[in-house]
């Protein structure tokens, strides 16, 4: 008996709204369909109405987990448009926060993977250790989620001796814990039984479907912006691109744990070789008419921001391509011919950050099934019209 089960938009496995429609035959998945557009916020349009400086804090709010990735990607591009280079110390601190963010994101993901596989102990342990890196980030930037440490031409806060020392101590603890997780991840029989061979994506498929980040690297494609396009500090720092050749969810776990170890190494290097000097240069208020495509290796894969300036103090266009969006095509392929039990694991394995990837809204007429892609302005007009047509509510009671 074939039927379609709705995973989402509201489902315990999903932390953000997205709709996966699974056509299943008993326990087997026969077809998968992804529907987006539940979380569209119109950020790109909003960016055109704000100044270069204000947009740093706007882009940071694209994502709650890789907030620094988006703001760094944006700032990198704007600095190129304004033709300024941040001082070396500023760069070191900026990419130190980048790597710390990668650590916190990967630890978070490990926990989520454990939870999706029903391994709640793993989830509790990794999230407890994630607090170590969260505390370091709070100590460095003053915030736990939106670090707000980037500014045009450098960073906003300096590091002192005590902070460097404490960060190094934290790295030592995390290194030990990650080795332990690596051991559990590849040795616990029930966990491995759930992950091995699940969500197969061959090397050729990964290339054809433009997979990015750990999803691509687990299919043995050494694709990493930090290595392919060495910018800022990445040409000075020694690190390896981690790959796995198993092409499954287990490979994605292994890649992420290995990347954790690389990130500790990078953080260690950046902290020990922190150059003296200024942390920021003064940035001009306006940028000359030009365009730039900024690339950045976010924890989830390659993040790109296309920025176009027209000589004013505001961008003419900001286009964000979040890594999750690039992985959706591969996800549909991975989901096909799996088990129902594998849905949350395969979907979680791309580390989806759904609201980052929402760009348009598709409206579907409930009666006719007709589909129509609308722009944010139309959507807003639609909402306002509907509100105007509603009969006025008298004596409305709004319970608390």
């Amino acid at each position: 008996m074939k039927f379609t089960i709705p995973i989402g938009p509201q489902h315990p496995a999903l932390k953000e709204p997205i709709s996966l429609r699974m056509t299943v035959d008993g326990e087997f998945i026969r077809d998968a369909d992804i529907r987006l557009g539940y979380n569209h916020r119109g950020l790109e349009k909003l960016a055109e109405e704000k100044t270069w400086i204000q947009n740093i804090y706007l882009t940071e709010r694209i994502c709650g987990i890789c907030s620094h990735s988006h703001s760094t990607c944006y700032v990198q591009g704007v600095e190129k448009l304004m033709e300024i280079t941040p001082p070396k110390r500023g760069n070191y601190i900026r990419y130190l926060v980048s790597e710390l963010e990668r650590i916190h994101s990967h630890l978070l993901w490990l926990g989520v993977a454990g939870h999706e596989a029903g391994f709640d102990s793993f989830f509790m342990y990794t999230w407890r250790d994630r607090e170590v890196v969260m505390d370091i980030l709070e100590m460095i930037s003053g915030n736990r989620v939106h670090y707000a440490i980037n500014t045009l031409g450098g960073v906003r806060r300096n590091l002192d001796e005590m902070q460097v020392k404490k960060s190094l101590e934290g790295m030592e603890i995390l290194k030990k814990r990650s080795e332990y997780y690596f051991k559990i991840g590849v040795n616990e029989p029930t966990f491995v039984a759930r992950l091995a061979g699940v969500g197969y994506l061959s090397k050729q498929q990964a290339i054809d479907l433009c997979a990015v980040g750990p999803t691509a690297r687990a299919s043995d494609i050494p694709r990493d912006v930090r290595r392919d396009d060495p910018h800022a500090v990445y040409d000075e720092v020694p690190f390896d691109v981690c790959t796995a050749d198993t092409c499954d969810v287990l490979g994605r776990v292994v890649v992420r744990v290995k990347e954790l170890m690389e990130s500790y190494k990078i953080c260690d290097f950046l902290l020990r070789n922190l150059p003296a000097g200024d942390i920021a240069v003064k940035a001009p208020r306006k940028a000359k008419p030009n365009e730039f495509l900024s690339r950045y290796e976010a924890p989830r894969g390659e993040n790109t921001h296309y920025i176009k300036s027209n000589g004013s103090d505001k961008p003419e266009r900001l286009k964000v391509r979040a890594p999750t969006l690039a992985n959706y095509a591969a996800t549909v392929e991975m989901l096909k011919n799996g088990f129902i039990a594998d849905i949350p694991l395969i979907f979680a394995a791309i580390d989806p950050c759904i609201c980052c990837a929402e760009r348009t809204v598709e409206l579907i007429n409930g009666r006719t099934g007709a589909e129509k892609i609308v722009r944010f302005s139309e959507l807003r007009k639609l909402a306002e019209d509907r509100f105007k047509k509603l009969p006025p509510k008298r004596n409305a009671v709004w319970p608390l």
Partner: protein
């Protein structure tokens, strides 16, 4: 006097009041152990060390709105929680917790009661399946079929593992089996393999990690219980708790020498031994991740069933050579 004793037996110990109090305590114990193994605190707020938390949960659920889906078979949907609770409550009566007269059999201890208790413990599986099927939700339906699929895996090894000590004791009566192992404690050792198999199968029967497949939250939301709410869900939860107590009591009675020592010492024995079994079950729950339903069946038939047969062989050999 006999009537009073029977009423006491049905209502107080080990009847419904004791089962309610003790099963909520066991749930608290399980949650606390599970939480401490995961570096959490577990329940802390209600009562001392959060000991009243399961009771509070139960009464909170009782007061919640009770929704019955339009499409569901209403009579079946409403009846199942009560029938399920009655079944596990009845199975609790068969535990050999009192000092039974071995020569004389009664309604709660007779030759063959081990089969009856196993049978009564199998029925909740059917109840869960019907609960999932009658709610007509896709997630419940998948949960219901998963319940049955798993059932075909673990039930045979469980029966073989639990019955092998009975074969060694040469009795189908729980009180006599317990008395045999109290007299000859060394014979507990050959049953160790069966004890491990029974623990794993009980874990599967209770649908706890790694076998929480029928209500795997991240896959099929609430599974069998997706549509259940309020009083009915409270009954189902109480039912699972009592099932935990009864099945751990059964394992303790068969493998750990029962509960000797009359009313008070016997009660102490019961509490200590069942908590030990529940501790082992919690340990298993904390250490593993959920497996797939096809893996349960293949694991049960590839490893558990052959090992259970091996256990039977060991028992038969010992019985032939030493007894």
């Amino acid at each position: 006097m006999a009537v009073v004793k029977t009423l006491l037996y049905l209502l107080v110990y080990p009847g419904i009041i004791f089962l309610f109090v003790y099963s909520t305590f066991c749930e608290w114990f399980d949650r606390k152990v599970y939480a401490r193994l995961q570096n959490r605190m577990g329940p802390t707020h209600t009562g001392r060390w959060g000991i009243l938390q399961p009771v509070a949960d139960f009464f909170k659920l009782m007061s919640k709105e009770d929704v019955v889906p339009d499409q569901a078979d209403k009579r079946l949907f409403n009846l199942l929680p009560i029938v399920g609770l009655a079944i596990v409550g009845t199975s609790g009566l068969l535990l050999p917790v009192w000092h039974f007269n071995l020569a004389q059999s009664g309604f709660n201890s007779f030759s063959g009661d081990i089969i009856v208790i196993l049978y009564l413990l199998s029925l909740p599986t059917l109840i869960f399946f019907l609960a999932g099927w009658s709610s007509t939700n896709y997630f419940s339906t998948i949960g219901g079929t998963r319940v049955l699929t798993m059932f075909f895996g673990y039930e045979v090894p469980l029966f073989m593992a639990v019955l092998s000590p009975a074969i060694l004791a040469n009795s189908w009566r729980l009180a006599e089996i317990a008395a045999f192992y109290q007299k000859k404690p060394w014979f507990i050792l050959p049953n160790l393999l069966g004890f491990v198999i029974a623990l794993i199968c009980v874990q599967a029967k209770l649908e706890r990690t790694p076998f929480d497949i029928p209500h795997a939250e991240t896959e099929i939301v609430g599974g069998t219980f997706t549509e259940y709410s309020g009083k009915k869900l409270a009954f189902f939860r109480l039912m699972t708790d009592i099932e935990l107590v009864v099945s751990s009591g059964l394992v303790a009675a068969v493998f750990l020498g029962g509960f000797p020592g009359g009313l008070w010492l016997g009660l102490l024995n019961f509490v200590v031994k069942t908590l030990f079994v529940i501790f082992l079950l919690s340990l298993l729950r904390a250490m593993t991740s959920r497996i797939r339903v096809d893996q349960v069946v293949s694991f049960a038939w590839k490893y558990l069933a052959p090992l259970a047969v091996l256990q039977l062989l060991i028992v038969i050999l010992i019985k032939g050579l030493l007894l």
